[in-house]
Amino acid sequence: MSATLTRPTGTGSPTARRNTRPPAGARLLPKALHFLTFAAPGLLAFLIFVLIPIAMTVRTGFTNRNPANPRTRWVGLLNYTRLLQDSDFTGALKNTLVVTVIVTVAANVLGLAIAQLLARSGWLYNALRSVFFTPVVLSSVVVSVIWQAILTDDGLLNSALRGLGVTHPPGWLSDPDLALYSVAFILTWQVLGFCVVVYLAGLAGVPAELLEAAEIDGANRLARFRHITWPMLAPALTINTVMLLITGFKVYDQVQVVTNGGPGNGTTSTIAFQVVQTTFIGNHIGYGSAMATLMLIIIAAISVLALRVLQRREVTR
């Protein structure tokens, strides 16, 4: 895996090169000791509790392991050929992408808009910021339970809509064409505060003199935003996007609590949900492991992309 990942990192930036010059103190401790004390503990924990389990999962993915069938044997690529024809898996993959894209776009756009609105000092704005961040601190289960009470067909939202005269309000969770968007919406609500806070920090770094000078030169609001604010927010955008991609790809709790993958077969099932269902409900540990492996490959590809974006950020600075 690491071999493929090192490839695109060739475009080392001048900044990075300057920063990564080893300090002169290197001679005082042998390099090996430095590695052992600083790097080894973290890397070792990651190796033992993440990489080795991943390797075991990959290995299991080539077997037919199933607790109800004690004779586990190798089945080669059978699980993978089955996966590509499995509409439950491809559907889950599609759902995961839809949720991830919606959350990434919506939370970035709304986050930036709200950050612009809140980018002032004073107790009022401080308090409002804390409100926005609160859902980030909540557990996904709590968030799911809250929203379930709001979005069910006879929940608080539809009661309010009926009060406003809507006779047939939408079935936010019961309509198979809507439920996935409801899940994406819940997730967006939960992570929005994070984006707001990061964009606020980014906006604080935009020099006010620059904006004032542009205004005197006759630049309108849109032009000032496009040519001054937006480029300076690039790093904040990167951080938000990476975090949102991570959140989107992992989504499991909300699906499990709010829709259980439904209504109907797999309308809101995501990859993580599908893996857990296959492994623990269906007992197909081998097949589920192959699914997990494929998921990891997709994740690795996205990580490479994310890393490229990170490095471009270094270049532009």
Binding site: M1, S2, L5, T6, T9, T15, R17, N19, T20, P22, P23, A26, L28, H34, F35, F38, A39, P41, G42, L43, A45, F46, L47, I48, F49, V50, L51, P53, M56, T57, L117, L118, A119, R120, S130, V131, T134, P135, V136, V137, S139, V141, V142, I146, A149, L156, W189, V198, A201, G202, R221, A236, T238, A272, V276, M295, I302, S303, V304, L307
Partner: protein
């Protein structure tokens, strides 16, 4: 104060708009807050009304349960979270510093692999993790769970710390090295104090994630030892399907410590997360 909003918009527009948007966003939380201070039967009847008069009945029911679900959960949660985030901050700060100051492709490769690790849902690799823990004899122990947390969350710590370390001039460390300080002393006396904002963000985020984690304690500590406050919420939902007063109260009590923790650290943590990005 409001110079930036320009002469065209009156100064009262922004605070009103900001308050309104926040209020809409806040509505779901309002639902929880008002219901914590109502009795169970009043919740089904009037879910959105204000709790007048407010009552602590539901909260009292939760904290005085005969099986001490909340208190045992609280002790477990505090213990697991405190130990894990302390170890994680130390380990990932050192690894982050090491990788940020290392030239060469392998350091970047290591970063890339770590970044992949951030995106793995824990449920997906839980079963092999239990096999690893059993072979190490650490299954159903607190050290075992802490080590798993360290392994799983170290990428996030590294992600934050490498970004931040790069904003600290390397000359500072070079000067100290010329004065004869060892790597350990340089890191702990000079670099680590400068990383405070980054440490704050790592502590907060990992604190929140580990506090809210449900599956790992339940499986890795085992059903007999692994009840945390977050597990308690699940259980309460099953047990009080028809009395949501206790569920809301438990949600509120379970969230309170981590919310206070966040509010205590919030001044630093944004800078930590974006410090590397926005300076410069």
């Amino acid at each position: 104060m409001n110079a930036g909003s320009g002469p065209r918009t009156p100064s009262w527009v922004r605070p009103i708009a900001a308050t309104f948007v926040t209020a809409v966003f806040f509505l779901p939380l309002y639902e929880v807050l008002v219901n914590v201070f109502k009795r169970g039967q009043d919740i089904t009847a009037h879910p959105v009304s204000l709790p007048i008069p407010p009552t602590l009945a539901s909260v009292q029911q939760v904290i005085s349960r005969p099986d001490h679900l909340f208190w045992y959960g609280l002790i477990n949660s505090v213990e697991i979270t405190a130990i894990s985030i302390t170890v994680l901050t130390v380990v990932s700060a050192m690894l982050g510093h090491y990788l940020a100051r290392s030239a060469g492709r392998w350091a970047k490769a290591a970063l890339a692999v770590l970044l992949c690790g951030l995106m793995i849902p824990p449920a997906v690799i839980l079963e092999p993790i239990t096999e690893v823990l059993r072979s190490l004899g650490l299954m159903t122990t607190i050290p075992g769970l802490v080590l798993v947390n360290v392994g799983y969350y170290v990428p996030f710590g590294v992600f934050v710390f490498t970004g931040f370390v790069k904003t600290i001039p390397v000359e500072l460390e070079e000067a100290a090295a010329l004065d004869g300080a060892g790597r350990f002393r340089i890191f702990w006396q000079i670099v680590f104090p400068l990383l405070r904002p980054a440490s704050a963000s790592v502590l907060i985020f990992l604190g929140v994630w580990i506090w809210n984690d449900f599956l790992n304690p339940l499986i890795l500590l085992g059903p007999a030892n692994g009840t945390t406050v977050t597990v308690g919420i699940y259980r309460a939902i099953g047990e009080h399907q028809s009395d949501f007063g206790q569920v809301f109260a438990l949600m509120f009590l379970a969230t309170l410590p981590i919310l206070v923790f966040y509010l205590a650290f919030q001044r630093h943590f944004v800078k930590g997360l974006t410090g590397g990005a926005t300076k410069g």
